[in-house]
């Protein structure tokens, strides 16, 4: 039997916890209490699942990628289609769960951080749908990279706060969101977008994302009468991966998390937290992070805004340490190649984040046998990345 994580102190083995300014200890306790109550309330579950189905369009499809499987000549490749979720990525699952919780707690204002903008859009979306006020913190570099999503958030009625500290990416947006929350925790709900942050966030986000894995398991068993041999997901903060992996943790399936190697893990420009980082504290949680010898957090780099994060959810740190999940890393270039391959062979343009998982899976598929199977979490669609793709593929297409 698997141990139940996190424990009462919010620990996944050595990792997790609450490393936050004193001011947040109260709000975190309030959140934990509300969450525990909600999770034991059937009405809350029902509402959450009702919104997922009726509004977000779940269950998302499980697609057999026949053409790419044939092309690679090995394992049968299946895709879990989170790109078909309303707003285009898995992020909405979690945003719906937390927004319902915020309402239940009587909070009418939410704040959120965002990198790729997907979580920002998801937050702005649930804010519109549930009548909440929404402020999204976003790094100025990401605002540039994800112009489309910025406009979507504004159109949805959210305020987008540009963050210029650091590199102006996800880490900095998160710092700023936490600072704002510290000052405004009385009436604001902080809607974190990944399985990061202080307890109970990593647990809560995982539990609102596990619907991905739960559905996948059921669907996969239906079509293959067996579980997948290997399951892949990209890892930024790690929410789509935890959502996918969690229901399979006690099964035989090999689980592979894929980080962003940026320009290469031998360069300083990457976001391969587990591969190259060390344990430490970031954004309220003890986990792995990218840091220098003095314990200063270093600036990550990835072509994909959603993976451009120097930390990782503490549960991943635990799964890494206990070797239950294998973590690999994929460069910008490998990701872009995989993106094109999937686009041209299957007619699905994935998010660049997702393309990292695809690239690792495609690398491995050929050496697997034809009766083996793999399941890749297609965490989001690539529409938001068109500007970046145009820059990169301008001459080729």
């Amino acid at each position: 039997m698997l141990q139940v994580f996190p424990d009462v102190k919010g620990r996944f083995g050595d990792f997790g916890g609450k490393y936050v300014p004193e001011t947040l200890m109260g709000p975190l306790q309030e959140l934990e209490d509300a969450l525990d109550q909600a999770m034991e309330d059937q009405a809350f579950h029902d509402e959450y699942h009702h919104v997922l189905e009726e509004y977000a369009g779940r269950p998302t499809a499980l697609t057999y990628a026949d053409k790419i499987s044939d092309y690679l000549g090995g394992a049968k490749i299946y895709l879990k289609r989170e790109d078909l979720n309303h707003t285009g990525a898995h992020k909405l699952n979690n945003a719906i769960g937390q927004a319902l919780l915020a309402k239940r707690m009587g909070k009418e204002k939410i704040i959120a951080e965002t990198g790729a903008g997907q979580h920002g859009v998801a937050s702005a979306t649930v804010a519109a749908k549930f009548g909440l006020k929404c402020k999204v913190f976003m790094g100025e570099e990401d605002i540039r990279r994800q112009e489309l999503n910025v406009f979507r958030m504004k159109l949805l009625g959210a305020e987008v706060v540009s963050v210029s500290s650091g590199n102006g990416t996800l880490k900095d947006a998160t710092n700023e969101a936490i600072r704002y929350w510290v000052a405004n925790c009385e009436d604001h709900f902080y809607l974190i977008g990944s399985v990061v942050g202080p307890h109970p966030y990593p647990r809560m986000v995982r539990d609102f994302q596990r619907v991905i894995g739960d559905e996948s398991k059921k669907q996969f068993l239906e079509v293959e009468q067996d579980l997948p041999n290997r399951i892949y997901a990209c890892v930024g903060g790690g929410s789509n991966a935890m959502g996918m992996f969690y229901p399979f943790l006690e099964d035989d399936a090999e689980l592979i998390g894929v980080e962003a190697a940026g320009r290469g893990i031998d360069t300083p420009e990457h976001a391969a937290t587990l591969t190259k980082g060390a344990p430490g504290v970031i954004h309220g949680s003890l986990t792995y992070l990218m840091q220098d010898d003095n314990g200063q957090i270093t600036e990550p780099y990835s072509i994909s805004a959603g993976l451009d994060y120097p930390g990782i959810g503490p549960e991943h740190a635990h799964l890494f340490q206990t070797k239950r999940v294998r973590y690999e890393s994929i460069t910008d270039k490998e990701a872009l190649d995989a993106l094109r391959l999937l686009t041209e062979r299957e007619g699905i343009i994935p998010a660049i984040e997702t393309a990292h998982a695809l690239a690792q899976a495609f690398k491995e598929a050929g050496s697997m046998s034809k009766d083996e199977t793999m399941l890749i979490n297609l965490s989001g669609r690539g529409d938001k990345d068109m500007a970046t793709l145009m820059e990169h593929f301008e001459e080729e297409v």
Partner: protein, 266 residues
């Protein structure tokens, strides 16, 4: 009633404490020494020596800027601690509290961290992102080295106020308002009631920080608490002098800094 001295016996006063904050290395180690001495001259009782950090979650833009300057000048946790003997050499006698985020400490390792503190004669340590529940081990280590581990308490600490206050060492850092450093101080009736409650439980002086930036603020805090902590305001006063410092007029800068401090805490 406060009963005992603290900081290895170096702090006898238990009332009307003035606790200024400097970021080590902002804008340079030598200027930090100079500013610290001026603060002592102006009546500082304890110095909070901040270690600059890349991602200071509890700090507002002012301290973020200071940290950036100090990091750019090469400051680190180890170097900040090693600045302490320098401060002593130049005449600083008041107790020094190293203020650092937790990650640099973790990176160094707890044991090495405390060895360094001890070797360099540091009297206190404050880690703003290590709340009571996560600090048991480090509190034990601090105690065994006779180093005060400074705790923070906030208005929304609620049931935890008693526990935190009762276990406080050195002085108790009372966050008067919700927010990061550098905000506006608003001493409402609620804040006063909160301070009163904290004082009931605390065996050590209760110092109020966050948003103290005018002489008026200082006076109000003095009236109700045992000490006043001033951070962002001091950084802003340093920023006022940066041009002079950069153009070599150090003594002029220090003089005008001293005057401003005198105004602030008069």
């Amino acid at each position: 009633m406060l009963t005992k001295t603290s900081f290895q016996g170096k702090l006898e006063k238990t009332e009307d404490l003035f606790i200024p904050f400097l970021v080590a290395g902002d804008p340079s180690p030598s200027m930090t020494i100079a500013f610290a001495l001026r603060l002592q001259q102006q009546g500082a009782d304890v110095l909070e020596l901040g270690v600059p950090y890349s991602d200071p979650l509890a700090d507002g833009p002012t301290i973020q800027r200071a940290a950036r300057r100090a990091l750019d000048a090469g400051m680190s946790l180890r170097k900040a601690i090693e600045l302490v003997p320098q401060l002593r050499k130049h005449g600083l006698t008041i107790p020094i509290v190293i203020f650092t985020y937790y990650n640099p400490v973790l990176r160094l390792g707890h044991d090495q961290f405390f060895d360094l503190l001890e070797e360099n004669g540091v009297e206190g340590v404050l880690i703003p992102d290590l709340p009571f529940e996560e600090s048991e081990e480090i509190r034990g280590q601090a105690e065994s080295k006779d180093i005060e581990f400074i705790s923070l308490v906030a208005p929304n600490s609620e049931q935890r106020i008693k526990q935190i206050a009762e276990n406080a060492k050195g002085f108790l850092y009372c966050v008067s308002t919700l927010g990061v450093t550098g905000g506006e101080n608003t001493m409402t009736g609620e804040s006063l009631a909160f301070i009163k409650k904290v004082k009931e439980y605390s065996p050590v002086p209760v110092a109020v920080g966050f948003g103290v930036s005018t002489n008026e603020d200082v006076k109000i805090v003095r009236e109700h608490a045992d000490g006043v902590i001033i951070g962002s305001k001091i950084i802003r006063l340093i920023e006022n002098e940066l041009d002079k410092i950069n153009s070599g007029e150090k003594s002029g800068a220090l003089k005008s800094f001293s005057n401003s401090i005198a105004e602030l805490v008069k």
